[in-house]
């Protein structure tokens, strides 16, 4: 169940506006890597490139899953997700008029995920008992914290090897942010995932990250090989801690 992600020298742009500039990073099998940076520095753009929603103008993105390496650039999002790469998107992107269970089951649409539906559904309801109570409720009528649970659960249903999480803390109360971050660590541990998490909440992110990269203006400005190294970096102190 080895799965890793490699990004080499990726440039990306929205029209004439350059969004990524020579970004290289890697996520090794079983790691949790944090992609740090304040708003507008390219974290979501990089996620979009990995998922095939935006085509990089240069560079290479590849995953190696169970010994098979696949180039992602030029593939459709459907193909890429079908390799076993799930995303918890920014803003959650749930289907508000469908019920909790319908949202979860849509996560398991791809054929490879269907045999494990009973196991994963049970897993979701065990990890988030609230979702079991509210399985037939329309997602649009639930609180932000509950919706974030559905989004995480839906990604689990995809039966991923690699989990991408984009800004899980946005729009949540601080106590829920801490809980969501812990849940991501729990899911990763229990399902043996490889995780890349974009997050602007530095303190929360480094609680569960093995390593991290700091993006500034679409460029990797700092690479920390441990949470401690990240916390000690001049750049992080300047940007996040106001020191």
């Amino acid at each position: 169940m080895a799965a890793s992600l490699l990004i080499e020298d990726v440039d990306a742009a929205y029209g004439a506006v350059r969004a990524l500039d020579g970004v290289s990073l890697r996520v090794d099998s079983g790691e949790t890597v944090a992609l740090l940076g304040t708003n507008g520095n390219g974290k979501t753009t990089l996620m979009r490139c990995i998922l095939g929603l935006l085509k990089p103008t240069r560079g290479r993105i590849s995953v190696t899953i169970d010994g098979v390496t696949t180039d992602l650039v030029g593939r459709s999002p459907e193909d890429i997700v079908n390799l076993g790469i799930a995303i918890v998107p920014e803003g959650r992107r749930l289907f508000p008029r469908l019920s909790v269970e319908e949202n979860l089951l849509l996560g398991a649409y791809r054929r490879a995920a269907r045999p494990s539906i009973p196991r994963h559904l049970e897993f979701c309801y065990e990890a988030f008992p609230r979702l079991k109570e509210r399985r037939s409720q329309a997602v649009g009528s639930m609180s932000g914290g509950e919706q974030q649970m559905v989004a995480l659960g839906r990604a689990v249903m995809c039966a991923p090897k690699i989990l991408l999480v984009d800004e899980p803390s946005v729009g949540l109360a601080p106590i829920l942010v801490a809980r969501t971050i812990e849940k991501i660590a729990e899911l990763k541990e229990k399902l043996g995932l490889t995780v890349l998490m974009a997050e602007q909440n530095f303190h929360q992110a480094i609680r569960i990250a093995d390593r991290g990269y700091v993006l500034v203006h679409g460029h990797v400005e700092f690479q920390g090989d441990s949470p401690a190294a990240l916390g000690d970096s001049e750049l992080v102190r300047k940007f996040y801690l106001g020191l």
């Binding site: 998922l51 929603l53 459709s76 999002p77 459907e78 193909d79 997700v81 079908n82 995303i87 998107p89 992107r93 749930l94 289907f95 508000p96 008029r97 469908l98 319908e102 089951l105 849509l106 996560g107 398991a108 649409y109 791809r110 269907r114 329309a138 649009g140 009528s141 839906r154 995809c158």
Partner: protein, 293 residues
């Protein structure tokens, strides 16, 4: 029994039967307009196309019109899927669907009507079912099979579709596609494929509704006109994406129209029925049975 009460009872029952026909006509639109966000104003024209083909085939073979309409559904599904591919390629893909897409379906409507007039003539066509002249009498209430059988067949089809939407992966994807198509792609689901399949289903339902229509009344190329306003009103009143709501709204619409026609004359019935629509929208903007998002 009090004659007024008998009149009212019969008005309600035949209103329900008329509502059954409306439900058949509106169910397909509930899929295309309600679930897919495709404003297919030509939907009643497809129903009439189905009705005319059924009448033609009935004349040639004598097979029951409703059976013929069921046999037509695969061809109509393919027609709908092909039409969606064209619509997607020329409008939706470029984000031009709001006004230009509407014009596109307006054009499709006229092409169908003119095509029917040129090939089959402007006169009325009909198809008689073997049960067309039988009426069941329950006490003082009349139940003409000419209305009842098409209604039951349509409700059965709608029930089947509703199960499909709730119980299958593709069905849930259809229910989700208008809410967030990019999110579907992130679940490895191709939204264009989903919409193509669903739009095909909506046009297949139009063929079935055509079979129902031609059992109920003779049809000509423009018979769809009276349905255009009604089916959109019913789908909106039903809460857009809810098939059950669509059926209930259709029945309510039929009853209001028919009871009004019975007591105050048929010229009042559209005014009262559409007045009810406005009232519903004023009080419940999400429709009678819609879930607020």
């Amino acid at each position: 029994m009090d004659p007024d009460l008998v009149l009212l009872l019969n008005g309600i029952v035949s209103g329900l039967l008329l509502g059954g026909l409306y439900a058949a006509a509106a169910a397909g639109l509930s899929v295309s307009f309600g679930m897919l966000d495709v404003v297919n104003i030509a939907h009643p024209a497809f129903m009439v196309l189905g009705a005319m083909l059924v009448a033609l085939l009935w004349g040639a073979t004598g097979i029951d019109p409703l059976v013929l309409s069921i046999l037509l559904t695969p061809a109509f599904w393919a027609l709908g899927a092909a039409l969606y591919v064209a619509y997607h390629h020329f409008f939706e893909r470029r984000g031009d669907e709001a006004i230009q897409g509407l014009a596109f379906f307006f054009g499709v409507l006229f092409i169908i009507e003119v095509g029917l007039v040129l090939t089959l003539g402007p006169e009325q066509h009909f198809a008689d079912a073997s049960y067309a002249n039988t009426t069941i009498q329950l006490g003082e209430v009349d139940l003409p099979l000419r209305m009842l059988v098409p209604m039951l067949v349509s409700l059965l089809a709608i029930g089947g579709l509703s199960l499909f939407l709730r119980r299958t992966f593709m069905g849930r994807a259809i229910a989700a596609v208008a809410q967030d198509r990019e999110a579907l792609r992130l679940l490895a689901i191709d939204p264009v494929r989903v919409k193509r399949l669903a739009f095909g289903i909506s046009i297949a339902l139009a063929a079935l509704a055509g079979g129902a229509l031609v059992v109920v009344q003779p049809v000509d190329a423009t018979s769809g006109h009276v349905f255009i306003g009604r089916v959109f009103a019913i789908v909106i009143m039903g809460g857009l994406s809810s098939l059950g709501g669509c059926v209930l709204a259709a029945l309510a619409f039929g009853v209001v129209e028919n009871v009004t026609a019975t007591f105050y004359g048929p010229s009042w019935s559209p005014a009262v029925a559409f007045g009810c629509l406005l009232l519903v929208l004023a009080v419940r903007p999400q429709g009678l049975f819609g879930r607020a998002a």
